[in-house]
């Protein structure tokens, strides 16, 4: 494995290359879950950097990708409001509440979540807020970067259940999980593609 990753999109297919070797090919119109297992964090970072250079690829970091100096509501609305017009009266707080409900957060938590700083949230809540943003602004390909690292099995199962909401709302947009090679890697139901860079082999999914 050379470590020189680059990705291209051609005819609605994303191809990830390691040097000249094709490691992963995805259709952007067929939806579904896909998984790429990497041997170490450095490789994961390289792969993510290569993928996010492609237009339409969105990355959800393991910590939710939130800005520490803003509240949850401000974090949520930043990306949505950046391109908005001055007279846009869209109710971003209501959109946040709707999306967070889809993420399975309890109702009593929703009332206070918007006013909190990300550092005061637990890891799953931070991830849920980042994921809620993706629900309202779904990218062509959602890359979920090392979401399962350090999670208990119950938390991993809950995360997979929450992620299912993306497929329900966007059945034709794929999700690519990038995970570190681990003996505790949770099973991904309905995973269409598994690429294991630790073995440098592409196999039909048995996960």
């Amino acid at each position: 494995m050379s470590g020189d990753f680059h990705a291209t999109i051609d005819a609605r297919r994303l191809s990830l290359f390691d040097g000249r070797e094709l490691r992963l090919a995805l259709s952007l119109d067929e939806g579904g879950r896909h998984r790429l297992v990497v041997p170490e964090a450095a490789t994961a970072r390289q792969v993510v950097m290569a993928l996010e250079r492609c237009a339409g690829v969105g990355v959800l970091a393991e910590d939710g990708g939130l800005l520490g100096a803003m509240t949850v509501a401000e974090n949520f609305s930043l990306a949505l409001r950046y391109d908005s017009e001055p007279g846009d009266s869209r109710d971003w707080e209501r959109d946040l509440e709707t999306a967070l409900q889809l993420c399975g957060l309890p109702a009593e938590r929703l009332n206070t979540l918007g006013r909190e700083q990300p550092m005061n949230l637990d890891r799953m809540e931070r991830w849920a807020v980042g994921f809620a943003r993706c629900l309202l602004r779904p990218p062509e390909l959602l890359v979920i970067d090392r979401a399962f690292a350090g999670l208990a099995r119950r938390q991993a199962d809950a995360l997979i259940a929450v992620e299912a909401a993306f497929h329900q709302r966007n059945p034709f947009r794929p999700v690519l999980f990038i995970d570190l090679d681990s003996h505790e890697l949770p099973t991904l139901p309905d995973c269409r593609t598994l690429v294991d860079l630790t073995e440098l082999a592409e196999t039909p999914c048995h996960c």
């Binding site: 996010e52 969105g58 990355v59 970091a61 990708g65 939130l66 800005l67 520490g68 100096a69 930043l78 990306a79 409001r81 950046y82 391109d83 908005s84 017009e85 001055p86 943003r133």
Partner: protein, 249 residues
């Protein structure tokens, strides 16, 4: 060109060019909000300190001048205008802003760099340089002349009062003499000088905050560099304007 951009001065010039070429992005509602926030932090919240400094400086300047040159009000007023209004007001205002805002901007950006928040912004589809740097640079360009104007008003006002008390002249007469001797072009030049100082301080703070390595040591390093280099830049601008005024006279 690589040699130029590889130096610190080259980096400042590149950032200045970036800010000038991207200034129209400030029309976005979110960036305008950030700009207002920066102007408030750098300018409005500095007014109490500026006010006290200005009043004390005005009184000190007048008492010292009166002790030095006697009760010649015209000379005192002329020196007040050139020394205090044109020279000291922009300089002292800039020093206050460097001490308060420059370190804050640099360390804030360095912390964001440490937590990889520039990447986070990029992933959100928000240009990090536009969102973080433009409001801070233009915030100081707007705030510093405003702060300077406040300094001038407070300093000159306290100077007039001191003159009236020391020389026993009516306040209106003192004010009238000052305004007769004041040069409106130099007054505008003092505000322009402040704006350039604000630009320099903002560019330097933003550069050091955003370009350091992502480490905790880099945070303090960025703040120290921003303040130190900002102070030098303020004096460089001051000297350049002094030479320019001398040459044009």
């Amino acid at each position: 060109m690589n040699t130029l951009t590889g130096t610190r001065l080259g980096a400042y010039l590149v950032l200045a060019w970036f800010a000038a070429s991207r200034r129209r992005e400030l029309a976005r509602p979110l960036l305008r909000e950030q700009l207002r926030h920066q102007v408030f932090n750098a300018g409005v919240s500095a007014l109490p300190v500026i006010g006290v400094m200005a009043i004390l400086t005005g009184v000190t300047a007048v008492t010292q001048l009166t002790a030095l040159v006697g009760a010649d009000s015209d000379l005192t007023q002329r020196m007040l205008f050139l020394g205090l209004f044109f020279e000291l007001a922009p300089l002292l205002s800039a020093l206050v802003v460097v001490a308060r805002s420059s370190a804050g901007i640099a360390s804030e950006l360095a912390v964001m760099n440490l937590h990889d928040e520039f990447t986070t912004l990029r992933r959100l589809g928000v240009p990090a340089a536009d969102y973080l740097l433009l409001p801070r640079i233009f915030g100081l360009i707007i705030a510093l002349p405003a702060v300077t104007a406040c300094f001038q008003v407070f300093a000159i006002g306290s100077g007039w009062l001191a003159t009236a008390v020391l020389e026993g002249r009516p306040l209106a007469e003192t004010a009238g003499r000052f305004l007769d001797l004041a040069d409106p072009w130099l007054a505008l030049a003092s505000l322009l000088k402040s704006a350039l100082m604000g630009a320099a301080v903002g560019i330097i703070a933003c550069h050091h905050g955003s370009s350091g390595k992502g480490s905790t040591q880099a945070i303090s390093g960025a703040a120290i560099q921003a303040v130190g280099t900002g102070l030098i830049a303020v004096f460089v601008v001051d000297v350049l304007f002094a030479v320019l005024v001398y040459a044009l006279r």
